[in-house]
Symmetry: C2
Subunit: 463 residues, 2 copies
């Protein structure tokens, strides 16, 4: 007899069926009549299965005392209708086997609630809690949603490299990757010789797969990346990770409007997917973590996004009565407080800002004819602010080269990127989305460190 | 009018329909009657669409000379039945627009065949060739297949970390990750102080996500990783990459037999998926790259895998007439020549070897009662040899601790891994598969550097 997952038993199991389940004990309660109620969870869903074990089940009396919170069991038995509320069926055990114990004095996950800070220190056990089990399942539903969205539309998944010898985007501080003997390097006074390093050059961890994705957009067509990216920034905030997963679609023959349309469709698809596939987990987040989670997800899923030129947004911000900490001025980047005011209070829905000043945007964004702005776009959503950044790319070789000089970049370093414009250049667009931001949006978790299995932050890369 | 992808036109387009296509010129041929035949490709499929442009199409005479191999175009027109063989429909252009030229004297991809070595040096253009277009599409089909296989079975996708401060598996040489100023470190004679480094400790790039995946197997249940892993080994072979993608499923309540069953089902699923989703690309590989590709894929998809104890394999190898370069002896690891003899010549089908000597396998594999072997398994397939390695994991705390000492490992370094056995331990199993090996198997490409978008190897991390 094979194991049935508890999610399956709870959703489709019928009275009189026999099943075998395996999992971990959440609680045990003994009745005076000589039987025990054991709530079993196997991580396949939020809810546990109630198992009733009579004292005469073979072997039960020997292991009875060891069945404590966190212990692991195999139970076979027959399903029956449950008189308890909130559960359709329960299991009457006929066999029970103890896999492993969890000593009540030392097992860190007892019934009481633990702080998220504490749980981060035991990240190897936190997926056994309700909150982190739910985050794991929701993260999985979102990951699968990302792939399904693009696969359904004929996009190719491209695994762009993690190790790179070019600092192309200049998007942020980079981690260095080396096989040089650092202990020895420190002890002997010398000049460093990167030609002796593994890659024969100074190498780093990528900050973005965009430029490589453009290669594939300009050959096999619509494509997307979904992989880890890195920032060596010493920022201890609830919004930043040194290692995080990014999704970067890139599409030939898309102008900025096509790009905005795809971004909106993508975000709405993810919201609908999680509503459909993880309703019980979302209910939990809405009750226990953040009361507005469900409302926000529904709003994003169902409301067309407002498209607003950056210049209009500046006018709104300078003429409104809101007091901001940071000044608002045309030519400056918007701060989180400005973005949240626009999406949460002014428009009260997701918005897409576009046509940003070229002085605050990277070299690869397409220049508008006004000489002042570029075809950039940012998608802003309630409670999170910016969730997507993208642009139409500059496909004109001469304009791109001029922009690179303006940005103090050496065109020779970008020879291959320029080649894409030199040979069969096409209009194209793309955007990037930090995956953990979406997890944060959907779960309502305050700290992004709780939205990834093992967060990497300054002074921490444990597990 | 939106763009229609050429794959769509070729598979479903009907005469008299009007479409707009965008893409790159493969060839142009001018007739004496004043019209041109242009073969257009947009990367959505192997085949191109034949476009016929009459001299009187507006603007055509001005751009006619610029329509050379590699130039990019937008063409609108009407479909008609094609008299040519190998194509159902062709397009009669009514509008044509040139996006970008590709100077015939400098564009590196002319009609002649290029060596794969040369194409590696222009990895930003190689996806525009038939071979690398096909590899990209097949890689995408396999990637989507990996996710679908596990998602259909209720597995959770877990993104395990790339940066790690523990060298847990000891599976290979590791790259170091640092933000220390290496130039300065070299110039000043000092002791290195990793407490000043970004993570406050010596940090590296992961060699495997298995141990972290076990955390999730022992909490939320069946799970898998699919992400980049790294080996800083200075091996210049056609089988090794410094950065490659690994798939590592991990399942609670699975013994070695369950593990073997899943591995076989997984490989067969991938073979069937690629046969179904990429027939034209496979046909190309079979004709142009490796004549046995289709036969091998079919054989793997359709033949039950033979399960053979390691000890039996040694008996076969020592009693056969084959001459081997490396000696065969119980207790030694098998060499590639041995593996290929067993799968290609002796059994003539995929095989799963199991119960390997414990002295040649890592600490985490479950010890058999014989005191000599562990519950390891390797899946071997024709032409590639080992494609999967896995095991039932050691779930007994005391046995695991003893094994770690035997392997000279410090249990304190593995405190969290041991905790999984200390609290609610369960029997579990898993395996690992190098994704590029599967791409190599399916495409027949000789060199694994051609099976990943941008290969990282000693002295090379370009693009």
């Amino acid at each position: 007899m094979k194991r049935t997952k508890i999610a399956q038993v709870l959703s489709a199991g019928q009275p009189e069926e026999t099943h075998q389940i395996c999992g971990w004990v959440r609680t045990r309660r003994d009745s005076k009549q000589g039987f025990s109620f054991i709530e079993m969870n196997d991580g396949s869903c939020m809810h546990g299965l109630q198992v009733i074990v009579d004292a005469d089940v073979p072997g039960f009396s020997e292991i009875h005392k060891l069945i404590t919170t966190g212990a692991s069991l195999r139970v076979a038995g027959k399903l029956q209708e449950s008189p308890g509320k909130g559960q359709r069926v329960e299991m009457l055990a006929t066999e029970i086997e103890l896999f492993g114990t969890a000593d009540a004095d030392t097992y860190p996950l007892q019934k009481k609630r633990h702080s998220f800070e504490f749980l981060r220190e035991i990240a190897h056990l936190r997926p056994r809690t309700n909150t982190f089990g739910a985050i794991t399942r929701v993260r999985n539903v979102l990951s699968a949603g990302v792939h399904n969205f693009f696969q359904e539309r004929g996009f190719n998944y491209i695994q762009t490299p993690v190790i790179t010898t070019s600092d192309c985007e200049g998007a942020g501080e980079m981690f260095q990757v080396t096989t040089l003997d650092l202990e020895r390097l420190a002890q002997v006074k010398t000049e460093i010789d990167f030609s002796q390093d593994f890659f024969g050059k100074k190498a780093s961890l990528t900050v973005s797969g965009q430029l490589e994705a453009e290669i594939f957009a300009c050959s096999v067509g619509d494509c997307y990346t979904f992989g880890p990216t890195f920032r060596a920034e010493n920022s201890n905030t609830t919004r930043h990770l040194a290692e995080f997963w990014m999704i970067e679609p890139e599409m030939p023959f898309y102008d900025l409007n096509d790009n905005m349309e795809l971004a909106e469709e993508f975000i709405q698809y993810l919201m609908k997917t999680v509503l459909e596939k993880a309703p019980a987990d979302l209910e939990f987040f809405n009750q226990r973590i953040e009361k507005t989670v469900l409302e926000t997800i529904h709003q994003i899923a169902e409301t067309p996004f407002e498209r607003v030129p950056y210049t209009t947004a500046i006018e709104i911000l300078t003429s409104c009565d809101e007091k901001f900490e940071y000044p608002v001025e045309w030519g400056n980047d918007l701060q989180s407080e400005h973005e949240r005011f626009l999406t949460e209070k002014h428009f009260k829905k997701p918005i897409i800002l576009f046509d940003y000043p070229r002085s605050i945007k990277p070299f690869y964004m397409r220049c508008n004819d006004d000489g002042k702005t570029v075809r950039a776009m940012d998608v802003l959503v309630p409670r999170i602010g910016e969730i997507i950044g993208g642009s139409q790319r500059e496909e004109r070789l001469d304009v791109l080269e001029a922009r690179m000089k303006e940005c103090d970049l050496d065109p020779e370093e970008y020879w291959w990127y320029l080649d894409l414009r030199r040979f069969g250049s096409v209009p194209h667009s793309g955007f990037g989305l930090g995956f953990e931001r979406i997890v944060q949006l959907v779960t309502g978790m305050q700290n992004i460190r709780d939205c990834i299995p093992f967060p990497r932050t300054p002074k921490n890369a444990s597990f």
